[in-house]
Symmetry: C2
Subunit: 388 residues, 2 copies
């Protein structure tokens, strides 16, 4: 919105955005509930909803049989035909999905590749999936944009992938490539940051305005912050790189990597190693850890938990969040004894800051990144349903 706040048009757009945002986040809502949530007048909400309906963004459904006194209120739902393309390129596959503004995922493909997907290839895969869907099942859908979750540093201003170590992408203008191949407006974000957004809006962090999200992946530790209810990008969009931090390590014996950073010490590879696995997905690792009763495993889990606790404390002292959400192998690690981790954080962090703090594991499953990617694809539309 080109700073239309303060004008009439601005008010109207904000109100449309508010209504659309509520049904997007909370799902179908009666008009009566919307009036309550927005604080606007009944008649105003009616006209806003009518406008959104005319633009094909929401649909009005028959009232729910609520068994309550009074005239039933029609239910306003996001129009499931409004879709975004969510993309997650990884070393061994590119996952592409169609995600509805209603949260549904009517189409999803994981395209395995036997080589690292190149930027051009990724853009082409997205375009061909889009074409296929447009020609078949999703014929009557309306695709409003593309969102990419990239495992690397993404410059917010232009969607340039500065460096994605595992994809071996370096200064790749992926946003421009995908915009060209699809003709759709495209947004790009760091995968862990998008995970944070997804957990904040639809997962373990629903309704929490100040949270920290840390994700443990095969390649390292990333994350994202939500402050004042908004995702934090920082000046260029690189915020959230917890894995590169250097937390204090109280016991010298706990250090494995000289001059190492958090993700050198707290790592999935070390956990796999100690349980004697070469590789494996998250449940496999969790099962192996649960089954193992060797002291070596307990030691390694303890060591990593101690270091993780210190890293979390640093974040808690600085940000005073009300919630920390852990995903990936950090969830596996933490879930073994969530109470102990909370206690360790409470012991080291400022007492006051840890009072209101809870630590949870991520709630969304494998679709987390796709949901986050779709969210940034929807962002413009949600912020200003009239566009421009």
């Amino acid at each position: 919105m080109t700073d239309r706040a303060g004008t009439f048009d601005g008010v109207h757009r904000r109100n449309l955005s508010k209504v659309l945002g509520h049904v997007h986040l909370d799902g179908p809502l009666s008009r009566a509930r919307l009036t309550a949530m927005t604080g606007l007048n009944r008649s105003t909400v009616a006209s806003l909803v009518a406008e959104l309906t005319a633009r094909g963004l929401v649909i009005e459904q028959a009232p729910d049989p609520t068994n309550r006194v009074g005239r039933p209120s029609p239910v306003v739902a996001p129009d499931p035909r409004v879709l975004a393309i969510a993309v997650n390129p990884e070393v061994d596959a590119v996952t592409i999905a169609a995600v509805g503004i209603d949260g549904g995922i009517p189409a999803r493909e994981r395209i395995e590749v036997d080589h690292l997907p190149s930027p051009d290839e990724t853009a082409e895969l997205v375009a061909s999936a889009l074409d296929r869907w447009r020609a078949a099942d999703l014929r009557d859908a309306r695709f409003v944009g593309v969102g990419l979750a990239v495992p690397g540093l993404v410059r917010a201003s232009d969607g340039l992938v500065r460096f994605a170590p595992h994809l071996l992408w370096s200064d790749v203008p992926i946003r421009a490539l995908v915009e060209e191949s699809t003709g759709l407006p495209t947004a790009v974000g760091n995968d862990a940051s998008l995970g944070a957004i997804a957990e904040h809006l639809f997962g373990a962090g629903r309704g929490v305005d100040d949270m920290v999200y840390l994700n443990g992946g095969a390649s390292g530790i990333g994350g994202g912050l939500i402050v004042h209810g908004r995702p934090v990008g920082g000046s260029a969009g690189y915020a959230g790189e917890f894995g590169q931090n250097r937390p204090g390590i109280a016991a010298p014996d706990d250090r494995r990597a000289a001059e190492g950073v958090l993700e050198d010490e707290v790592s999935r590879a070390r956990l796999l190693e100690v349980v004697g696995l070469d590789h494996g997905d998250e449940p496999t690792l969790a099962d192996a850890l649960a089954a193992a009763d060797s002291p070596a495993v307990a030691d390694e889990v303890g060591r990593q938990s101690r270091i993780l606790a210190t890293a979390l404390c640093n974040a808690v002292n600085v940000l005073n969040p009300s919630l920390i959400v852990l995903g990936g192998f950090l969830a596996t690690l933490a879930e073994r004894d969530l109470g102990a981790l909370e206690a360790a954080v409470a012991a080291q962090a400022m007492p006051a800051a840890s009072e209101g703090l809870s630590i949870r594991v991520a709630a969304l499953g494998e679709n987390r990144l796709l949901i986050g990617a779709a969210e940034i694809a929807f962002a413009d539309l949600l912020a200003d349903p009239l566009g421009r």
Copy 2:
């Protein structure tokens, strides 16, 4: 503002707030410049300014002789008679000032005490200063609120001082006490966080939307964050406690305190000790450091700088700020070789994140905390000039 956004009244209030905010932050501005800055219509700005004038918040002055073609535009300035009381209780004195919404400080008293000031005493000192000023020089002033900068943890919701170690205040309802003694609405904040706000609005961080401020005081290291242009409080308001963090210490020899936190390692006391001073103000310490040429001094400065650099890196990785501002003895420490500190941060932080980063020393002098305290006292008025 009780969520009046989205209504007409809301628009009007927002626009009043916008105009008042601009003249508050940037000083006197011509009406023509205000129209450009707000994007509103000339006639609209005229009526907004008239309303603010009627409410005694701004004054219109004769146009500046600008030597430019065209009809001269009257200059809108904040009314210097609109004042806040800013208070900073310390172990040896309570500083109280009247701070104008124009940024002026027409009155300032440092009341030395030979004992720790108690909460009640502080509240009484504020009330009596207020009475004196109201009876004399500032007879025609309008006091809109009190802001306190407290060296301790302050709960944002109710202005309760949870713990101020040096004042020995514990769970002190200082906001209520001062509101009672003065009859004025009162706001309370942590001193370093208020320093961050002041530097952001009027000091080294002017115009910077993502910054980190660290202050080195006699008692430890505190700070504050600005994210998306807004100060970060966190869930309870305790954010910014960098001093309690545990940064990694690469060289074991650099560690002085087992299990120590940042402010145990990087401390003013250690600097004073190494130059052989018992105590001393900031210039004294800076001079002593500059004059010393013993290797012990250089070693200690180097050691503290190394640890500080790691702590800053942790913040940079997570927040990707465009600016770090250092105050207090951290400024003294950094100023000895700002380039080296920047290099050390660049060497350890993610390369991309340190690209757009600059490190500066604080620009505001001894009035920093008073300006920050006044700012939170003015906050309600600035957010909604009509009140309620």
